[in-house]
Amino acid sequence: MYKKDITVLIPVHRIDGDYREMLINALSSLESFHNDVVVSIVCPSSVKKDLGQLSDKIDINVIENKGKTDFCSQINVGLEKCDTTWFTILEMDDEFKSIWLKSVNEYIKEYSDVDVFLPIVKDINVEGKFLSFTNESTWAYGFVEKQGFLDNETLLEYQNYQTSGGLFKTQVVKDNGGLKDNIKLTFNYELLLRLTHNGVKVMSIPRIGYQHVNFREDSLFWLYKNDESVKLEEDEVKFWLDTAKKEFFFKNKRDVKYAEA
């Protein structure tokens, strides 16, 4: 029997208001290749009800998360249950582009030694207007050591890479400790630093495989920028960048003491 080899992890922490519609939209971007991937929503018990029936076309596997519901913790719970060779992350207000599966399959076949494939991410605003590309810079001439491949040295200088929509070898991420939920803001960056530091091969696929809505009201990064209760000032941003640069040497999360930084 044909074995699905990719799991799409969708972390969901709430389903009220616009969130339900956003999730339905995100799921609809999987319709063209749902037969080839396992779709898993990771969510707290409180929102579990009906999530499996959100799409009549896609079989949805709901993973109940009884722990913390921040992005990193949700992904780690999903990762633990993941038994496919590869996994990817779909944020609930984002979408995969139709070329995504075709291009990752093409690259897996050609670059069998690569453990992480990052698609080019098209960043748009809430009105759908194009803002920028992410993950594209590895293809710029002279930017990285080997065109197309993200290396640790480049990452130390340049932080703007996006992991959602990226295809990760499940075991490689598990072996390297998953995401660190005690790192705010720069947890994606720290993960990539850690992976590349440990010899994991990361490559960008030069195709727009994923669309990301930037600064949607209430999104984590929007809150970091605008919500007074969690707002991060410039110095704090720098702190989290520096923290990522210190912590990537360690597979497991360590206690990060904000006040002592």
């Binding site: 582009k97 291009s103 093409e106 810079s137 710029a140 065109q147 030069p206 195709r207 727009i208």
Partner: protein
């Protein structure tokens, strides 16, 4: 006197019979820099040598830079002889092929009694150095080889007495579709360096989000590097108003890479819906940007375009061109044998009388 001439003709026939006559290709020195026109000459010489002929590259002197930096080994095995230093003696059974570029030496070659052929790859150069009002036949050049139908038509308009053959450049086996995923590179070939710079600058200014896309300059690189670069890029750009054949777009098409190009002053024979063509060079950047963005989104060439690309290449298959070269040079040889035989018979009759 007749006896001496009879001996000369008999030995010429003997050499032709044993394929010992030489085909000389007068070639200009590119100082070991790649040039499609020179490769075409070497391709003809190589094809002939691989099929029992003896052909040589004829150069002005021993300072000739050769082609070793950009053409593979077998091309470098073709003997090179120099007019000044090797004191080449061209015999009546030999063949001399002279590019239009060397029209200024036709007068000096007029006394040589071999088979003389003009090679026209760039029709614009024909009259550059040809004495005003003179024609090739004034110097014994009654045959010509050119690369396209349009060029042949042009030649026959001004040299109606010439017998014109068409040998298009070979689109070598180096060029084949890549089995690997394509890379976000643009191969660019512009004869005019100002236009080359302008296209790249305009592209990056008009599409700043695509500044990470690399342009590969396809000029001055070795043939194998050239083929490799063309093989892995996502699209190629070609602007060459003076081109009379257009090897670069065909090489690109053979790699399965779509071409965005300005239609040259003389439309190539093969021009069709096999690329993204425009008469307006100002539109190149916009077409390129639109194509690159579509490619990034995963848009692929339509089957009809792929079909047109494949059909375009059919007449330029390497085997067809090689057979064409052999057939044309065989006809020169047979005609020469016939002419010498006739002259010989005539002399023998006179001798017997």
């Amino acid at each position: 006197m007749n006896k001496e001439n009879i001996e000369k003709l008999e030995s010429a026939l003997g050499r032709l019979d044993k394929n010992e006559n030489v085909v000389y290709f007068l070639t200009y020195d590119t100082k070991n820099n790649p040039r499609a026109a020179v490769k075409h000459i070497y391709d003809m010489a190589l094809t002939l040598n691989q099929n029992g002929y003896t052909s040589k590259i004829l150069v002005e002197d021993n300072t000739y830079g050769g082609v070793s930096h950009w053409l593979d080994g077998e091309y470098n095995d073709i003997p090179v002889v120099s007019i000044k230093d090797d004191k080449v003696e061209i015999k009546i059974d030999d063949v001399l092929v002279v590019p239009e570029y060397y029209s200024n030496v036709l007068q000096q070659l007029s006394s040589i009694k071999c088979v003389k052929i003009m090679l026209v790859q760039q029709k614009d150069y024909i009259f550059d150095t040809l004495p005003v009002g003179s024609r090739w036949s004034d110097y014994g050049f009654d045959k010509a080889i050119t690369t396209t139908e349009a060029s042949k038509k042009y030649i026959l308009e001004y040299f109606p007495e010439a017998i014109v053959h068409i040998i298009p450049p070979m689109i070598g086996e180096h060029f084949k579709p890549s089995e690997k995923p394509l890379k976000p590179f643009i191969s660019i070939s512009c004869r005019d360096r100002v236009i080359h710079r302008r296209i790249i600058s305009e592209f990056y200014l008009k599409y700043p989000q695509l500044r990470w896309i690399t342009f590969r300059d396809m000029v001055q690189i070795s043939y194998s590097e050239f083929a490799e670069a063309l093989n892995e890029c996502m699209v190629s750009v070609w602007v060459d108003d003076e081109s009379t054949f257009g090897t670069f777009p065909l090489e690109s098409i053979k790699c399965g890479i779509p071409v965005i190009g300005k239609i040259p002053d003389v439309e190539p024979d093969w021009l069709d819906e096999n690329g993204m063509w425009t008469y307006d060079s100002n539109k190149i950047v916009e077409i390129l940007g639109t194509y690159v963005l579509a490619w990034l989104e995963g848009v692929e060439l339509k089957d009809e375009v792929k079909q047109k690309m494949a059909e375009t290449l059919l007449p330029y298959e390497e085997s067809i061109t090689k057979n064409n070269i052999l057939s044309i040079f065989n006809s020169f040889r047979n005609k020469r044998i016939e002419t010498i035989q006739k002259a010989l018979d005539k002399l023998k009759v006179e001798e017997n009388v």
